[in-house]
């Protein structure tokens, strides 16, 4: 399989919050300006390091939600109950605040637009972030690549990037967006209303013969279930790239 070029040393950079957007009650996107940022591929992530007044530091990793854009890096962060860094990023940081960041990190869970498609993107909750970087990169440069996104959220209030995805699905015939709401559904909901399962994937996923480039990101149990179901549907395990997160909020 293709290898990323060997990276040079990943130095800590200063990241300044220059814009933000509340995506859902528990999720916020932060646009960071990071002088010296070397650029990145859709799917990669960064390490964040926060330093308290007494010198205490905490580090965590977050996926990048946007394609390369000069020194700008956008993160979409979900408030993890009992978390240490995410509550700061979601509820405390304001425009002008600075912290340390380094990256890009990870060369496997990436989509290089030249890889082509079709793309099968499956997100649980805030696992949409790195997949959104892929969709945004595709829109910018490679609209010929067909893409299907299946995203799972608890309720319509928890759908991240809802307006942008609605607009994308309505205006771009190459993109299909399928949503499932697992806990509550608004009146007139036309999407799915259950956890992602094999039957849903059989309906939504590209036929195995299309050899889709498949990316699955979300909580561990979500990713395990989706990846196992895709393998059961005949997908080559090596065509399925996964990124799992949490639970890691325990003290």
């Amino acid at each position: 399989m293709a290898r990323a070029t060997v990276l040079g040393r990943l130095n800590w950079l200063s990241a300044e919050v220059v814009a933000d957007r509340r995506e859902t009650p528990r999720v916020r996107s932060l646009v960071l300006d990071c002088p010296g940022w070397p650029g990145h591929l859709p799917g990669q992530h960064v390490d964040i390091r926060l330093t308290a007044e007494d010198g205490y530091q905490a580090q965590r990793s977050y996926s990048i939600a946007t394609p390369a854009d000069g020194t700008r890096v956008t993160l979409t962060v979900e408030h993890v109950p009992d978390g240490e860094v995410s509550p700061y990023l979601v509820d405390e940081a304001v425009i002008g605040d600075r912290f340390e960041l380094r990256g890009p990190i990870g060369g496997y869970f990436v989509w290089r637009p030249d890889d082509g498609g079709p793309l099968l993107l499956i997100a649980g909750g805030s696992g949409i972030a790195p997949l959104m970087a892929m969709l945004r990169a595709r829109r910018r440069l490679h609209e010929g690549v067909r893409a299907r996104l299946l995203m799972s959220a608890r309720s319509s209030d928890d759908l991240i990037y809802a307006a942008e995805l609605n607009e994308l699905a309505a205006t771009d015939p190459g993109v299909e967006v399928v949503q499932t709401l697992t806990r509550s559904q608004p009146e007139g909901w036309t999407g799915y209303s259950r956890r992602v399962d094999r039957e849903m994937l059989a309906e939504v996923a590209w036929p195995e013969a299309e050899h889709a480039h498949t990316y699955v990101c979300g909580p561990t149990e979500f990713v395990e279930a989706v990846a196992n179901s895709l393998v059961a549907l005949g997908y080559d395990p090596r065509s399925i790239r996964t990124e799992r997160f949490g639970p890691s909020g325990g003290s």
Binding site: D47, E84, L230, G246, S248
Partner: protein, 201 residues
């Protein structure tokens, strides 16, 4: 050079006993799962463990033969490059020293190969001398597939990506070569106490 982040207090200071938490890590009681792809399912009937490469005689064990080898209880702190550390994890496994007993080799390195295609590289001296095991039980239970079962390499003194899940073989080599994550920019050695996360650290 680090600088203070306005508004950040941090609350993880008391989570770890002194001297147990490597730099940049936080303590967790969960056991998060990190894998690059789907979890392979290997039945005990089809499972094999092999010693290959620079050995005077290649060896392969079936599951029953492997379980018949002398095993050890291991209690260790483990450290994942994604920042979590977990203290006092308990395992049962066969020491790599036991596997290598009576084997003659001039190798200095080992490449661990897993079911599913994963690889990771280590110096041979980091898996010998009581530092590494092929573990098949965790916390008194059979090792779950998501955590590397039926059996995984356990090298607790290095970042946990070196502890290859779904271990299939140990290839002894006289030259070093990057494994899976090492080829994607992760550190070639991966000592958590020197915070060797990425190439150049």
């Amino acid at each position: 050079m680090s600088f203070i982040t306005r508004g950040f207090q941090g609350r993880g200071r008391a989570d770890a006993p002194a001297g147990r938490l490597p730099p940049g890590q936080y303590a967790t009681r969960d056991f998060p799962v990190l894998s690059a792809g789907p979890t392979p399912r290997i039945s005990e009937g089809e499972w094999r463990l092999a010693l290959t490469g620079d050995v005077d005689r290649p060896v392969e064990w079936t599951w029953d033969e492997f379980l018949a080898l002398p095993s050890e209880e291991v209690t260790a702190d483990i450290h994942c490059v994604t920042k979590w550390s977990k203290f006092d994890t308990t395992w049962r496994g066969v020491s790599v020293d036991t596997l290598l007993k009576g084997i003659h080799t001039g190798a200095s390195y080992v490449m661990a190969h897993s079911y599913g295609g994963y690889t990771t590289n280590l110096p041979l001296e980091d898996v010998t001398g009581g530092k590494a095991w092929i573990a098949y039980r965790f916390a008194g239970e059979p090792l779950e597939p998501a955590h590397g079962g039926p059996a995984r390499l356990l090298v607790p003194h290095l970042y946990f990506w070196k502890s290859a899940k779904w271990i299939r073989s140990l290839e002894l080599r006289d030259t070093d070569e990057p494994g899976f994550w090492e080829g994607y920019g992760y550190h070639n050695y991966g000592d958590p106490w020197r915070e060797q996360r990425y190439s150049g650290d």
